[in-house]
Amino acid sequence: MRDFDYIRPATIPDAVAAAAQPGSAYLAGGTNLLDLMKGGITSPERIVDITRLPELDRVEELPEGGLRIGALVRNADLAHDPSFAKAYPAVAEALLSGASAQLRNAATVGGNLLQRTRCSYFYDTASPCNRREPGSGCSALHGENRLHAVLGWSEACIATHPSDFCVPLVALDAVVEIEGKDGRRHVTLEEFHRLPGQTPQRETVLEPGDLIVAVRLPAEAASFAANARYLKVRERTSYAFAVVSAAAALTVEGGRIRAARLALGGVAAKPWRARAAEALLIGAPAEEASFLRAADAALAEATPSGDNAFKIELARRIVVRALTSALAGTPALMPALPASPFSNIPGARHDA
């Protein structure tokens, strides 16, 4: 790790002003940033510690309906908030399926949105990587890419965004509240992360100094509470990133789907909202045939970026399973292994 300046601003404007200077990085839970600094993947000259900023660690009901979640709310606190978990069960399930208990205790809402990719070459400073060092090339394209993107990738970068939390959030039309040099603005989470194109180093719409202050869920998001699931296929039962994941939320009336939300994780450089699939589902009978059609639509544009064609088929299957599970109804209790297809194994432990 290189030497850096450490600043602990008292107010949001002070924070934004400090971080607007080149070479700055916000420090929240530090679970991602510090690892990147220790490995020499990023070397900020100035750390702006936002953990003492007032009022960013609150969850508030909005007057017009919906919820506003402060950027510093810890992942674990949010997931274990009973009224939150009741209204947005798929979001709570996604949070609890991520990382480990220790990391969830430290990780924040804002940090989770901004976590960097887990592409191994991004972490290996001896390898070219366009995201880490623009213009140096993409080592993954002709390297080990079994877990890389199958949607929205470019030859410049085939990495995925690893967050679980973002997947149900994007499905539920979450909005990111940003404070910048020119004041406050709102960006939908769907637009917040960028696809790589020719500039994979630009991962989000944030400009220097921009601070995430909150994430908002609109009133309608809670209307799916009875039929919402997050499912995650991972190689080990806990403490592993998704190979692919899906958030599905339905409202069903008289055997027909009235509203549908669907998003995929682990498939692209952003949480992937499957709008074409949603369009097919709305008004369709709530049955497997509709789910299979939706799965085909969700993956219609998918192409392997390397040795990962299996992820396309896997993603189709998880879409069907997530929709089937959502239709079956949100479980009354959080499954012992959140988001796991194996939660029903006898003796499954509640320590995922």
């Binding site: 030497d3 191994s120 390898s127 079994r146 299957r317 399973r321 297809p341 029903n344 006898p346």
Partner: protein, 765 residues
């Protein structure tokens, strides 16, 4: 859950917890849980400085230039070391004690044979300064083509290792004539020990005496290497290693980073600390070599094996030699009149592979124990039944009687506890919703390796007892079982025994590897304690100041720290009272298991090399531990993900010195086997040979949530041919056979034979 089948002679029968065979909890547990246990690199030394390594980023070639000026000018930097700046070290002998070539030794490399080879090092006042300066070093290379791994098109067939050839009968002809023939190839990838505590050390020189605080499975062997590198007498090197955060075979040898740190310490006249980063633990020493095997079995319709032809290959490095004995289980598990096993090694641009829990036996069992399952399905016989039909009544290779082999009992007990009889043989015939359920069985074995050790036992003035040995405890329970051995032999409570380990100044011990330490060291402590007890009783009887002097007894009883006459008709005093009565502040005795007229040279060789280890087939017997694993898996039909949902294992490790600790080691082995079967694989980049997943987020080992309740059952009986107190080996046995049991269960669940580990989801969808 753990079940004890007492009728099988589990030595805990009736024993109270503190005696040998009792379930005493780990005596080092509280220190570890409270953080009081201080590990090697946690020593606080005055003047300590920090070293950081810079590694090669190419797999083959030569360092053209190293730009060090910026690093040298960086804050706090004391020294930048490059291949040229380390001079005067000598090549050390290998672990067999083969005299080394008379050549200088360069722990930093100019000629690069693998990615991750140490090329330069920075020493600075603080760790952060060393890291920052290391990032400023620029190395340029002349790169040459590399053979990145076993599957590289340039790798070729390798070099035959004739010593591995085992043949009897005419295996190819018998195979050709057999009515049933199966042939399949089985592959295992590079796997890593991944201990929680990374490798590292603190080195300090005082004149020409070197002290090294370093996690070590072999203090005396490593001390020898340091002494030879630095051309100082063996006695001048002291290794200290009181606790070890996991080794699994990887901490038995001194490694090049140790030479760099000790060199820097001597050069700077200050203690130097150097700890490998987690990525460096994938290249700073070798994991388990990748292997390939083909197993062909010729059999009769009734499943009786007529011939086994086995060919194996493992990878080794460009200039080192590692042989992973792939025919070790193949050649002894089943009776066959015709057998042929041969092995090659292939040189690739990697660090030299090393020992990892049950080297040889582990991949060997994956081949033969999957193949016999394939044969069972080919002839339509239950996989357990076919193993019994081909049961080897004696060692088929050595043609000697087994010392003990409770494998039949293991099969019977395991099958019963697991409920094997309810299995429906057809693949895909058991399911629960989206999950296919499979039941698999496989056997495992590990040879009884024997060597020798020394110990000192002291009875102190307050009646407490001290045991000293340079052997180590890496979590397997040496502290505890040696306390139990001394307590039982001397007749004192275990909590009055203090065991001191992990310092090469103590009486010596050979390598803690190959599951040999418990058998060796309980023997040495038993002898030392017996001779201390003889002295104590002798003095009590003969010393005129002793209250027992007048009794004219020829023996006394020592129990619970007190001495009395056998009939209880005389005095009854504590050991402390007796010692103060006769004016002694201690009684001390040493004991060892060396043959009677061993010379000093014999002893040195025994403790610092592995050349004196006794073959497991020495004399009239063939000595092995045995086990049978019964495993249930659940496979998600859509996603191909496999989870283990039930394990029942029955194991024969002979007598257990402490069943609680043995069970815990068995369970650890089974858990590691689950990781090997489903998760673990070092992924090699085909261009530069680096391990891509060189960290614990990407190199997956099982978490708690991956592990079901594991039932382990001891079916062993005391084996007098294997060790002084009747134990065989515990530490490595249980991993052997887990991966094939899981692969067999996956076949039963899905109808798919996965012969390449690990069994990842894309192989099943």
């Amino acid at each position: 859950m753990t079940v004890h089948i007492k009728s099988h002679g589990d030595a805990s029968d009736g024993a109270f917890a503190e005696a040998v065979g009792g379930r005493l909890s780990r005596v080092d547990g509280p220190a570890k849980i409270t953080g009081a246990a201080r590990y090697a690199v946690e020593q606080q030394l005055d003047g300590l400085v920090h070293a950081v390594l810079v590694d090669s980023t190419i797999a083959a070639g030569r360092v053209r230039a190293i730009e060090t000026a910026r690093a040298e000018a960086a804050p706090g930097v004391l020294k930048v070391l490059t291949p040229d700046s380390i001079v005067g070290l000598r090549t050390a002998s290998d672990w067999f004690g083969t005299p080394p070539p008379d050549k200088p030794y360069f722990p930093l490399a100019r000629d690069i044979t693998f990615s991750g080879q140490h090329v330069a090092a920075v020493v600075a006042e603080t760790f952060e300064q060393a890291v920052a300066a290391a990032a400023l070093i620029e190395i340029s290379y002349d790169e040459t083509p590399a053979i990145v791994d076993l599957n590289d098109a340039k790798a070729g067939d390798g070099i035959p290792v004739d010593a591995m050839t085992k043949e009897w009968g005419d295996a190819p002809a018998a195979f050709a004539a057999a009515p049933v023939r199966i042939c399949a190839a089985y592959n295992t990838p590079r796997e890593y020990q991944a201990p929680m505590e990374p490798h590292g050390l603190i080195a300090r020189w005082e004149d020409d005496r070197l002290t090294v605080w370093e996690p070590s499975q072999w203090l005396d062997g490593m001390a020898r290497t340091y002494a030879e590198w630095f051309s100082v007498p063996f006695e001048n090197v002291r290794l200290v290693s009181p606790y070890i955060g996991g080794g699994f075979g990887s901490k038995a040898l001194a490694l090049s980073h140790g030479a760099v740190a000790a060199y820097a310490a001597r050069m700077l006249g200050r203690p130097v600390k150097l700890v490998l980063t987690r990525p460096q633990t994938f290249t700073g020493y070798g994991g388990r070599a990748a292997t390939r095997q083909t197993v062909t079995i010729g059999a009769a319709q009734d499943g009786l094996i007529q011939s086994i032809v086995h060919r194996g290959v493992n990878e080794t490095s460009i200039d080192g030699m590692w042989v992973e004995p792939l025919g070790s289980v193949t050649s002894i598990m089943y009776a066959t009149p015709n057998f042929s096993s041969r092995q090659n090694v292939v040189r690739v641009n990697s660090v030299v592979p090393g020992a990892m829990r049950a080297p040889g036996e582990n991949p060997s069992a994956f081949g033969i124990e999957c193949a016999i399952d394939e044969l069972a399905y080919e002839v339509g016989i239950d996989p357990l039944e076919i193993r019994l039909r081909n049961y080897a009544e004696q060692d088929p290779h050595a043609r000697k009687a087994w010392s003990t082999r409770q494998l039949r009992e293991a099969f019977a007990t395991g099958a019963e506890r697991f409920g094997w009889a309810a299995r429906t043989p057809k693949p895909r015939s058991m399911r629960d919703g989206n999950q296919l359920i499979g039941w698999g069985v496989a056997a495992g074995t590990y040879p009884v390796r024997r060597a020798h050790g020394e110990a000192i036992v002291r009875i102190l003035a307050d009646g407490s007892v001290e045991v000293e040995s340079s052997s180590i405890d890496m979590g397997q329970g040496t502290y505890t079982i040696l306390a139990q051995t001394a307590a039982e032999t001397l007749g004192v409570p275990a909590d009055s025994v203090v065991v001191k380990l992990g310092d090469s100044r103590f009486p010596r011990a050979g390598v803690t590897g190959g599951s040999r330490l418990a058998g060796v060291m309980t023997g040495a402590v038993y002898k030392a304690a017996t001779s201390a007890l003889d002295q104590l009783v002798g003095l009590a009887i003969s010393d005129p100041r002793s209250p027992f002097h007048a009794l004219q007894a020829n023996t006394l009883v020592v129990a619970n720290g007190r001495i009395a006459s056998p009939r209880g008709d005389g005095p009854d005093v504590s050991i402390a009272e007796l010692l103060s009565g006769i004016g002694l502040d201690r009684i001390e005795a040493s004991g060892d298991t060396m043959p009677a007229n061993s010379t000093a040279e014999d002893r040195y060789k025994n403790y610092t090399t592995i050349s004196m280890a006794l073959p497991h087939t020495e004399g009239d017997y063939s000595r092995h531990s045995w086990c049978a694993h019964f495993i249930e898996v659940r496979v998600d039909e859509d996603f191909g993900t496999v989870r283990v949902s039930r394990v029942v294992s029955a194991l024969d490790s002979g007598r257990l010195y402490n069943p609680k600790l043995a069970e815990s080691q068995w369970k650890g082995g089974i858990i590691m086997g689950i990781g090997q079967a489903l998760l673990e694989e070092g992924i090699v980049d085909r261009r530069h040979g680096r391990i891509v997943n060189n960290n614990l987020a990407d190199y997956l080992v099982p978490t708690n949530a991956d592990i079901p309740d594991i039932e382990v059952i001891s079916v062993g009986i005391p084996d007098p041919h294997s060790s002084a107190l009747g134990g065989k080996g515990v530490g490595e046995l249980a991993i052997v056979g887990v991966a094939p049991a899981i692969a067999n269960a996956v076949f039963h669940a899905t109808g798919k034979r996965i012969r390449d580990l690990p069994i990842t989801l894309e192989k099943l969808i």
